[in-house]
Amino acid sequence: MTDVSSTRGEPDAAAGTGIDTSVPHSARIWNYWLGGKDNYAVDRQAGEAYKEIFPGIAVVARTSRGFLTRAVAYLAGQAGIRQFLDIGTGLPTADNTHEVAQRVAPASKIVYVDNDPLVLAHARALLTSSPEGACEYLDADIRNPAAILDAAAGLLDFSQPIALMLMGIMGHFTDEEAYPIVRQLVAGLPSGSYFALYDGANTNEAFNQAQEGYNASGAVPYYLRSPEQFERFFAGLELVEPGVVPVPHWRPDPDAEPAEIYSYCGVGRKP
């Protein structure tokens, strides 16, 4: 599982326009698992190879996306949030953050952050705002949270609450990197802000094995975490019910069918 884009960097960002179709690209593989059309032969092969070891990956992709939709709908609805900082945008798919938020609150403002040129080009062209709201696009690397906060300060109103979204991207970082990044980002947000996250969990043996194989292949690694490790991301925040839980259990739609558990998620509020 590689999510949402960006590959956080290395191979793509280094190469000219940043599009290398000779190596699989995590945003495009993810797009393939989601049933999208923005993927090339190398991505489909890599996606299929992964699927052979772990057929559940398509469910991971779908259910994780479902969490994003429900979390954003909750944030724009019940929580009354009108500003979203979505880091690790990924390639456009159905129900992108601004579409969900602006369906609930048309004036919502979304800042999409990614460091992948392909993702950014797609976002600028296809993730366009409703007339009442706004979408902005930020070319930045999450490894530099201060720079993201600086740039976001020019685009969002930091006197009002903001929802920080890290959807499937923190798995690209070790604990040593990941917790400080999240701590720094959350510290920069005003009181009353929210933080939403999901990532792959290490609670399923088949998933663990597939991911080990994937990480050994030379691709940008992605680490699966335990439920306790997920809890740590939300230290100091008030967890929104039902807390840190498997993705299918977070405020499921009434008609949702039970799904296998591969990912964990949570939404916290900054006091």
């Binding site: 326009t17 940043g18 599009i19 179709t21 049933g35 059309k37 923005d38 090339y40 032969a41 040129p117 392909l118 950014l120 080009a121 797609h122 600028r124 062209a125 296809l126 366009t128 705002s129 409703s130 007339p131």
Partner: protein, 310 residues
């Protein structure tokens, strides 16, 4: 000059009386193209699942193997009887599936709004209009001309005259009106996303003269403000770019089963590619161009700069 076949007028100009009248197959209706493609894809699936060769299938409906292949590629009109006979041959007995496909046959045979322009339009271009009207995302790279969906009436007329120097005035008018009519697509209730990357040359070439070109560039800035339109410029200073082959279009359809289609226009014909290998290659070039080009916001400022130069 093939361009002139396909390039249309401009959204605002389209509003004349010609745009009026309820159009059975107007842009909102999508037209018959996607039903045809879907029908073809499903017929192929059923035939392959039944292990029946195109020859056998053709024999069943008193047609050739190439007719079967054209049907499966969504390139022909379908007869209801042919489809039901084939389904029987393929062992598809589920009434629900059969009824669904028969309903598709009816949609696939409905005329598109463009059918009344048949006299001035080559068949291959008619197919393009069908695809364009059905697409959810239209990505284009333009080397020489402003894209047809964005053209002003004057610019469209100038481009048309380039290709039809000897045509009578009435025919020119009809051709221009077809271009403008095409732009209704942008004003429909569910417009496609149009993502157009243009070479700086297309902006500098003063088609129709300086005044026409200035107005055209103003129009371009105007349409670029639309939520579903993106204009990006590849400036000369970026040097050589990825699209050595010239202008092309990639059409994306919302239906998960329908593959992307690459459209390449030539002087007297057009090429439609929908095989993975081909589409991958063109999509890769298109993605390179989109990342090499100025961002949409920079592009608008760049076009404003060219207007001052003209």
């Amino acid at each position: 000059m093939s361009r002139d076949q396909r390039d249309g007028g401009s959204p605002g100009d389209a509003g004349g009386p010609d745009a009026g009248g309820p159009d059975a197959g107007g842009p909102d209706a999508g037209g018959p193209t996607v039903p045809r493609l879907l029908l073809g894809i499903q017929l192929r699936r059923c035939r392959e699942a039944a292990g029946i060769s195109p020859d056998q299938a053709g024999y069943e409906i008193r047609a050739s193997r190439s007719k079967i292949s054209r049907m499966e590629n969504g390139q022909v009109r379908f007869k209801e009887r042919d489809v039901t006979d084939l389904l029987t041959l393929y062992g598809v007995t589920d009434e629900k599936i059969r009824d669904g496909l028969v309903a598709l046959v009816r949609q696939a045979n409905a005329p598109g709004w463009w059918s009344k322009y048949g006299d001035i339009m080559a068949d291959w271009f008619e197919s393009y209009l069908g695809l364009e009207a059905a697409a959810s995302v239209i990505r284009t790279f333009e080397l020489q001309f402003v894209h047809g969906l964005f053209q002003t009436e004057d610019y469209a007329r100038a481009v048309t005259l380039l290709g039809h120097t000897a045509a009578p005035a009435a025919e020119i008018d009809r051709r221009v009106s077809l271009r403008l009519k095409r732009q209704d697509l942008l004003n429909g209730s569910k417009p496609p996303q149009v993502w157009s990357v243009m070479d700086e040359g297309a902006l500098r070439r003063p088609v129709g003269g300086a005044a026409v070109m200035r107005a055209q560039l103003h129009r371009l800035i105007e349409v670029a403000q639309l939520r579903h339109v993106t204009v990006q410029v590849v400036p000369f200073r970026r040097g050589g770019h990825a699209a050595a082959g010239g202008s092309f279009t990639v059409l994306r359809f919302a239906e998960p089963d329908v593959p992307d289609v690459v459209y390449l226009e030539h002087l007297t014909s057009a090429l439609y590619l929908d095989k993975h290998e081909d589409v991958d290659h063109y999509m890769e070039v298109m993605n390179h161009l989109s990342t090499e080009a100025l961002t949409p916001a920079e592009s608008v400022r760049f076009i404003a700069g060219i207007i001052r130069d003209i």
